[in-house]
């Protein structure tokens, strides 16, 4: 016989949970006591609940397992909201256990009471408000099943304090499996559709493959690489999909979208067949929807039926797990490719010639002033790439530095690039890096951030000190909210309304105050040496404050409104 609090912890143990990110408080005292009386699950005490959710998120993205968060009722729960919304937008598996006021006090405006299920409703895959301790084991089983299956996402389990009380004991049995009549995600795609789609792929004259976060989260990378190489077709990844296909491969055209490469966006615009896998035709990808891929037939593979034909109508929809669908597609493709005619081979080679023409634009070339020692933000990412041999886990915050990281650090494996793509949450980078570091203590974890974003969760430097998390923070410091400022330059005649960061702290002194190592660099000639030292300090958190050119813009950039994907700004004042 166990108390509700003990049942919860035992259930999490049974579920194989290794680590919980959280912050205690009144409503979760019984739960924290149960946590204290065991040593199987570790707990990371954060400094702000938002950071706990981002850590769990980073952990989940890097490992593929659900991240777990404990927060108390009221402000503990509301602080977690931004992190839950971040995970929801990017379909990241997460289970958030929130404390709630005692059952008899719910609805009375009691101390630290808030309607967590209500507040979180639009940003969770599902949520539960528990009514009795007997429910706990089954609900936890369901929560993990829902969070990690189908299109993944965060699940909230709201537990009134009285249910976890040590004074009442209940039998404990953890269910081995769970089935729900109202929830059964697809386990395979429709074979007829897959066969038809593959035939269409093989007949295409100007094919293009476009894949997103679904390939990363759905472990479809291996099959995708196989398919892309079998066919010999060009491929692009979304911001969320980077690493799903090796970024250094010759068939890879770089990221697409608002800040995508000239070649990827042009190939999208001109293709006659588009294979979309685990991507959702986001507005940051399509530009003006009516001008999107005007010549293309579209095959769309996704685990979520609601993603298909939501923004762009698919000619061949395939609902199913991307790895399973791609595997079946590979079978058909390997057989079909042997029948490729000379004419088809010639057309494909002509298509590649056209793409190579776009590549010669060299849209990511970094221009520097002769003899200037000023560091360009793009050079920071290139230098980090070199210093880490392209093999680090890289998290980012949100803004220009995020786009530079996505464009200038080619990822060769899935799950190594971790950023808030859907919600665009500033303050995500540092805690996400911490979550990755907790999962992989011996790996190099880099957080690319900016002077605006880092200050949104900088208190977690204290958590890093407590748990010896040696993340490497690269602050691409332009003394401004660079992305907003760029838009103000381009669309508001340079009126920089509240985008200067006056009174920035001395970041080096600040990180030293937390017990970490800080370096500052503002000369391009010193950058490589500083980074070499940074990455040699493997057991220390190192914060590198890099002063960069404050006036740099991210290019290419879509021309909007009313532009198509091939309409881009290529540098200041120069457009297609």
């Amino acid at each position: 016989m166990l108390s509700g609090g003990d049942i919860l912890i035992r259930s999490l143990q049974e579920e194989g949970v290794e680590i919980i990110f959280g912050y205690p408080g009144g409503a979760v005292l019984h739960i924290y006591d149960a946590l204290f009386r065991q040593n199987q699950i570790k707990h990371i005490l954060v400094r702000h609940e938002q950071a706990a959710t981002h850590m769990a998120d980073g952990y989940a993205r890097a490992t593929g397992r659900a991240g777990v968060v404990f927060v108390t009722s009221g402000p503990g729960s509301t602080n977690a909201i931004t992190g839950i919304a971040t995970a929801y937008m990017d379909s990241i598996p997460m289970v958030v256990v929130s404390g709630q006021a005692q059952t008899h006090l719910i609805g009375t405006d009691s101390f630290q009471e808030t309607d967590m299920v209500g507040i979180s409703r639009p940003i969770v895959k599902h949520s539960f408000l528990l009514k009795s301790a007997e429910e706990i084991a089954e609900v936890i089983k369901k929560a993990f099943y829902i969070a990690t299956s189908g299109r993944q996402g965060p699940v909230v389990v709201d537990i009134p304090k009285d249910i976890t009380s040590p004074t009442e004991l209940f039998p404990f049995e953890y269910p081995e499996s769970i089935s729900m009549r109202s929830y059964s995600p697809a386990t395979k795609g429709h074979s007829g559709q897959i066969k038809k789609a593959t035939a269409m792929l093989l007949e295409a004259e100007r094919p293009m493959i476009y894949t997103g976060g679904g390939v990363v989260q759905g472990n479809g990378s291996e099959e995708l690489i196989k398919l892309t190489r079998t066919l010999g077709y060009p491929i692009t990844n979304t911001l969320m999909g980077l690493g799903g296909y090796p970024g250094t491969d010759k068939q890879f055209l770089g990221m697409l979208g608002m800040h995508g490469t000239f070649e990827a966006n042009n190939a999208m615009h001109h293709c006659d067949l588009l294979l979309a896998v685990g991507a959702r035709f986001d507005d940051r990808v399509t530009n003006t929807i009516s001008k999107f891929c005007p010549y293309a037939k579209i095959i769309h593979v996704d685990i979520d039926p609601a993603s298909i034909s939501k923004n762009v109508v698919a000619h061949i929809p395939i609902v199913g797990p991307v790895d399973v669908v791609l595997k079946e597609m590979n079978r058909f493709a390997e057989e079909g490719i042997t029948k490729r005619t000379d004419r088809q081979a010639r057309l494909l080679s002509e298509w590649w010639d056209q793409i190579d023409g776009w590549r010669r634009q060299d849209c990511l070339r970094v221009t520097t002033d002769e003899g200037s020692k000023v560091i360009k933000p793009q050079q920071v990412i290139q230098a980090v790439y070199k210093a880490t041999a392209g093999d680090a886990y890289v998290t980012s915050d949100v803004g220009q530095h995020q786009m530079f990281a996505a464009l200038y650090y080619p990822f060769t494996e899935p799950r190594k690039w971790i950023n808030s793509g859907g919600l665009g949450t500033m303050g995500f980078g540092l805690p996400a890096a911490m979550g990755v570091q907790v999962a992989f203590p011996d790996e190099t974890v880099v957080c690319i951030t900016g002077d605006g974003s880092i200050q949104m969760n900088i208190q977690e430097l204290s958590t890093c000190a407590q748990y010896d998390l040696p993340v490497k923070i690269i602050n691409v410091n332009n003394r401004a909210l660079g992305m907003v400022k760029q838009w103000q330059d381009m669309q508001y005649e340079g009126r920089h309304s509240h985008t200067y960061m006056d009174s920035l702290p001395d970041f080096v002194k600040l990180v030293e105050a937390y017990g970490h190592v800080g370096f500052a660099v503002d000369n391009i000639d010193e950058l490589d040496a500083v980074l070499a030292e940074t990455f040699s300090l493997t057991d220390k958190l190192v914060f590198v404050d890099v002063n960069v050119d404050p006036d740099e813009h991210v290019y290419p950039m879509f021309v909007a409104p009313n532009g198509s994907m091939r309409d881009m700004w290529l540098k200041k004042g120069v457009r297609t």
Binding site: V117, G118, R121, P122, K125, H126, S127, L129, I146, M180, R181, S182, Y183, D304, P305, A306, S309, K310, V313
Partner: protein, 165 residues
């Protein structure tokens, strides 16, 4: 186009708010809404009407299906169906008006379910169009109070919405 969507869902606290929340969140509209438990007490049947294009309705039904508590749903307007709505309406009825109202009620096969010296309460069942027609037929100034149940409906013939099939 007007649609009638019928949803079979778990009869649990919070399920209704998820459906209603979904409509608000995704900027769809709900014109009428009815919900009550079915013969199986663990299930509720919710019927709503909305006006949407074909593409919107595809999204609405897909998004509803994604809700964990939704077991099954059908767009009744896709096929032959029965729809009924109940209206209770209290009308000022004095002097010559009393006979006039009674006559109109008879034409619509409505029933007078409550009578006082100054008012009739009339019950009318039918499609929403029929209820609208009745409202047009009576003098607006005589209406004291009214309530409509929202639409309920079933497919015609053998077709059923069930958790088992």
């Amino acid at each position: 186009m007007r649609r009638i969507i019928s949803v079979l869902m778990e009869n649990e606290a919070g399920a209704l708010s998820r459906v209603v929340g979904l409509f608000a969140q995704r900027n769809y509209n709900i014109e009428t809404l009815t919900v009550a438990p079915t013969e199986d007490k663990t299930l509720s049947r919710l019927t709503l009407t909305t006006t949407a294009t074909d593409q919107q309705i595809e999204q609405i039904t897909k998004q509803l299906n994604k809700l964990i508590e939704v077991v099954k749903l059908v767009d009744l307007t896709d096929g032959d169906h029965l729809e009924r709505e109940l209206m209770l309406i209290k009308l000022k009825a004095t002097g010559a008006q009393r006979a006039e109202i009674k006559r109109t009620a008879d034409i619509f096969r409505a029933q007078v379910v409550d009578v006082t010296q100054g008012a009739y309460t009339i019950q009318l069942t039918g499609t929403s169009d029929k209820l609208d027609a009745f409202l047009r037929a009576i003098q607006e100034s005589t209406v004291l109070e009214m309530v409509r149940s929202g639409v309920s409906g079933l497919s015609r013939g053998e077709k059923v919405l069930s958790s088992k099939s």
